[in-house]
């Protein structure tokens, strides 16, 4: 028996009224795999992450996490829409970093990182603080732990956000255009942290990105989204080196043209 995929999208669709954002998506991500999602805006790539984080409901299909349905639960042999308790049990395996950081502005960097471990995981404050201190040290911000988000640069805020997500010990990390809101000179420090996490932790990572260079160097697989579907996917060398699909070629050409 082959190993369970970490995440499996099974014929998942998402519509907003008449607009179909995702159309019958099928995608499997293996344990420890690092997958980048690229594509033009409006192609539904961010929606994939948001559905997996349960920030969006889905209209059709089932999302599976480690062999268990996330959006549904087993009841009498059939799948019914999941209740909140079920969703929260599965959701505990997933962490997310947002484009706009979404740090809690009324809490220091340290408080941001220990809030959920204490309230959700029920950790002791001292343990949560020790763990948060390690993580803040790893993202290079141990000196800023008592600063409020408004006192930090964008790059520093995003690194705190990464530490905050890791503090919940997720198995899957989602990165939603995490460098898009940053000034160009701050992008590097955030990507550096993501590289390091990829090396040191056995995490499954799914990221939506516009950083083609980073996607190429970092990921095991790249998926190109177009109009709510995966248009082409494969190892970065192949997809960037010799794209088979005309749409992919056009997109990559346009992106490289822009520098």
């Amino acid at each position: 028996m082959t190993e369970q995929p970490m995440v499996r999208f099974d014929n998942v669709s998402k519509r907003y009224g008449a607009l179909t954002v995702l159309n019958g998506l099928n995608l499997e991500i293996a344990r420890g795999e690092k997958v980048s999602v690229i594509g033009p805006s409006g192609s539904g790539k961010t929606t994939v992450l948001r559905m997996l984080m349960t920030l969006e409901t889905i209209n059709d299909g089932v999302i599976w996490v480690e062999g268990e349905p996330l959006t549904h639960m087993q009841q009498g042999g059939t799948l019914v829409p999941a209740n909140l308790a079920h969703i929260r049990r599965i959701r505990a395996k997933i962490g997310m970093v947002f484009q706009s950081f979404n740090l809690f502005p009324h809490m220091t960097a340290m408080a941001n990182c220990i809030e959920a471990p204490i309230t959700v995981l029920g950790m002791k404050r001292a343990d949560a603080e020790a763990r948060a201190a390690e993580l803040l040290d790893m993202v290079g911000l141990s000196q800023k732990k008592d600063h409020y988000p408004s006192q930090l640069s964008g790059g520093q805020q995003q690194r705190v956000a990464i530490a905050r997500a890791l503090a919940m010990r997720p198995k899957i990390m989602l990165f939603d255009e995490v460098t898009s809101a940053l000034d160009p000179e701050l992008v590097g420090e955030v990507l550096q942290v993501i590289r390091q996490i990829g090396r040191e932790h056995d995490l499954t990572m799914l990221m939506v990105t516009h950083q083609m260079g980073f996607a190429k160097e970092f990921s095991d697989r790249v998926c190109f989204f177009y109009q709510g579907k995966i248009c082409e996917q494969g190892p970065p060398g192949e997809l960037f080196g010799a794209p088979k699909n005309e749409r992919t070629r056009q997109f990559l050409h346009a992106v490289l043209e822009a520098g």
């Binding site: 920030l55 929260r88 809030e115 959920a116």
Partner: protein, 242 residues
């Protein structure tokens, strides 16, 4: 208006009261009016407390409560916003006893004013909660917090700051509304003023003092709320200069 101007106005109004008090025509009325002012403050403070409790409860019930609770809160808010404060006061004072519930006038005053302002307050609590960025809820979800945890730890602390200025205005409205209780036999500041006016016909000295006293109380509330706002937003604003 800046906090300095408010403090200056408070200082000037208190100084004018003090100067007027040196004159016999004014001094005569001062003890009685101060007595009334104490009752006014008592009603204002207890009424504000009730208003805050009702405002928060009604807002939470309307936004997150189960359907029956939601309807109940909506009916409460609509009735107390839709009818006049004086009508509510008179209803509790004159009509409720006909249903066999006779409340003490002081209790009626606190209840009517607190419920009235609480209904307006629920709207500003709701507005403040909705003003918190959606990303904050999303971050809470990504950290697997429950809705109650997000509300209590993430959303309400941020909404609190946005609520301070509108609540400041509501507290002042409530303070001013306390004058209505003079019409249900309570001897507050407005009652004392009218009583003295009827007995002595010294309208100008009496009402000058009374207006100055209300002004001083309102300004104190304004200044207090400004200071609270400053303090509460300390963590949020600190980095803005940097």
């Amino acid at each position: 208006m800046g906090i300095r101007t408010l403090v200056a106005m408070l200082f000037v109004s208190l100084a004018v009261i003090a100067v007027l008090a040196t004159q016999a025509t004014y001094r005569l009325f001062l003890p009685g009016l101060l007595q009334g002012a104490v009752l006014t403050m008592e009603i204002a403070i207890l009424g504000s407390l009730l208003a805050v409790i009702m405002g928060v409860l009604a807002a939470l019930a309307r936004m997150y409560g189960p359907a029956p609770l939601r309807w109940l809160a909506t009916v409460y808010v609509e009735i107390f916003r839709g009818t006049s404060a004086l009508v509510q006061l008179f209803w509790l004072f004159f009509v409720l006893p006909q249903f066999g519930v006779t409340l003490d006038a002081f209790l009626v005053a606190v209840l009517a004013l607190g419920l009235n302002v609480g209904a307006y307050g629920s709207e500003c609590v709701r507005g403040a909660i909705q003003s918190v960025a959606r990303g904050q809820w999303e971050a809470g979800t990504a950290l697997n917090m429950s809705r109650a945890q997000m509300l209590r730890r993430i959303i309400l602390p941020q909404a609190f700051i946005a609520m301070i200025p509108p609540w400041g205005n509501l507290f002042i409205e409530l303070l001013k509304s306390t004058a209505l209780v003079s019409l249900i036999t309570l001897s507050d500041l407005a009652f004392k003023a009218q009583q003295m006016n009827q007995n002595t016909f010294k309208t100008i000295p009496i009402f000058t003092l009374v207006l100055l006293m209300y002004l001083a109380m309102s300004l104190t509330v304004s200044i207090g709320m400004r200071l609270l706002e400053k303090r509460a937003s300390l963590g949020l604003a600190r980095g803005k200069a940097a």
